[in-house]
């Protein structure tokens, strides 16, 4: 190992890890919105909506993310005739993919809430939507935080896959440096270290959020 070389490439990799983090954060953000909508459709008892959400979840959980990235970046532009932008394709793929997983996380969270909660809310004259918003979701989101944290970390690691469409995140940057030098070990251990720092930071943040939400309501 040549430590001076590691120090030389670290700033570049560090900058790339910021893009990795940004990709993941925007991806999970889109995922949370899509997942929330999809989970509500799934429990809505309106058959066609439930079916659409189920197809969405099954497709994106049942096919490799790598293939989904290829579809979004290569196949869709051919069908709809537009010029793809790698960064946009990458974020979109991460977003819709995590949306499918988040949908199942929220669905499990919502279903874990005692049926009596919905009954009590409805018996007071609240609509289904009001009951969801004020009673069920606040409790469901809380129980969903730990699995959401896991999904966040998994997505951060999976974001390395967008390197196949040449988004210059951490993985791609590692490969680009590798093309210019024979110091392969230094590069990939550095890349691994940066991923590890990112995932550990997220884990800390999730733990903190979890603990903060627990105070005042120790169920």
């Amino acid at each position: 190992m040549r430590w001076d070389f590691v120090l030389e490439i670290l700033p570049k990799l560090g900058k790339a890890s910021i893009l990795t983090l940004e990709l993941t954060v925007v991806g999970i953000g889109i995922g949370i919105v899509l997942g929330l909508v999809s989970s509500l459709l799934r429990i809505s008892k309106i058959k066609p909506l439930d079916l659409i959400a189920k197809l969405y979840v099954d497709f994106f959980r049942g096919t490799p993310l790598l293939v989904q990235i290829a579809i979004i970046h290569y196949a869709l532009p051919v069908i709809f005739g537009y010029i793809p932008v790698a960064l946009v394709s990458g974020i979109a793929a991460l977003g819709v993919n995590s949306g499918a997983y988040v949908s199942e996380i929220f669905r499990a969270g919502i279903q874990s809430i005692d049926r009596g909660q919905m009954e009590a809310a409805r018996s007071l004259g609240m609509t289904w939507g009001q009951s969801m918003r004020h009673i069920i979701l606040p409790q469901a989101v809380k129980v969903s935080i730990p699995p959401l944290g896991n999904e966040f970390i998994a997505l951060l690691k999976d974001s390395s896959l967008v390197s196949i469409i040449a988004v210059e995140e951490l993985m791609t940057t590692g490969r680009l440096i590798m093309g210019k030098t024979p110091r392969v070990a230094e590069i990939w251990f550095s890349v691994a270290l940066l991923y590890l720092i990112l995932t550990s930071t997220i884990a800390l943040f999730v733990n903190y959020t979890e603990r903060r939400l627990q105070t005042g309501d120790n169920r």
Partner: protein, 240 residues
């Protein structure tokens, strides 16, 4: 006040209610008793359509409860319900539990909703628990908050679904006490209960249900001292 005509409820092939009719007058306290599995709770839950009746007609305060066009949320505003397992909202404090529905459903201004809630907490004897969360309250206290929560909507009718069955014996009295006060104030109440003492003392009328039908009804004295039907007698002999 409450008119029920030929109410049926099936769960799959199981017919839980087999043609129930009754008429509950304004300010009347009606206690529904009977063996477990007889359909008492299902009957009560049909009244605000937490269970969807299979057939039959329910009219509360001149509003048709059953029927396609009914805005059930409108009906439920006027019909308070208290559950066996309290069902307080665990993420909200006592006072927030009580003021939520007035705020969101009745669109009561916040200041007024807060006043109503504090009055009700006082009424059920829990002013000092205003900011406590449900898990910081005993079962009896939780149920009293639940009663206050239902009352905050100023309902015309209150339904109680075995309100003391999940409570430790020593706190049953405090909940029954609150219900007794309500009855004295003239609230129309329908109470599914195993508390025969309460039915005897507070009830204006007792309905005995068995196998999905009202087998016998009468004043508490008539039912408890002079039951006519064999099944009523058999049930009462087991529990009294």
């Amino acid at each position: 006040m409450i008119i029920v005509k030929d109410l049926h409820k099936k769960f799959g092939n199981l017919e839980v209610l087999r043609g129930v009719s009754c008429h509950i007058k304004e300010q009347e306290v009606v206690c529904v008793i009977g063996p477990s599995g007889s359909g008492k709770s299902t009957f009560l839950r049909c009244l605000n359509r937490l269970e969807e009746p299979t057939s039959g007609e329910i009219i509360i305060d001149n509003i048709q409860v059953t029927g396609e066009k009914t805005d059930i949320n409108q009906v439920r505003r006027e019909v308070g319900m208290v559950f066996q397992r309290f069902n307080l909202f665990p993420h909200l404090s006592a006072v927030q539990n009580i003021m939520l529905a007035p705020l969101k459903v009745r669109k009561t201004p916040k200041k007024e909703a807060l006043e109503i809630s504090e009055e009700l907490l006082d009424k059920v004897g829990l002013s000092d628990k205003r900011d406590a969360y449900p898990d910081q309250l005993s079962g009896g206290q939780q149920q009293r908050v639940a009663i206050a929560r239902a009352l905050a909507m100023k309902p015309r009718v209150m339904l109680f679904d075995e309100p003391t069955s999940a409570l430790d014996p020593e706190v049953v009295g405090e909940v029954l006490g609150v219900m007794k006060t309500l009855a004295k104030e003239g609230m129309t109440m329908t109470v599914v209960t195993h508390e025969m003492g309460f039915a005897r003392e507070v009830g204006d009328r007792v309905l005995f249900m068995d196998e999905g039908l009202f087998v016998e009804e009468g004043s508490p004295a008539e039912i408890f001292n002079n039951a006519q039907h064999e099944r009523t007698k058999a049930f009462l002999s087991k529990i009294l």
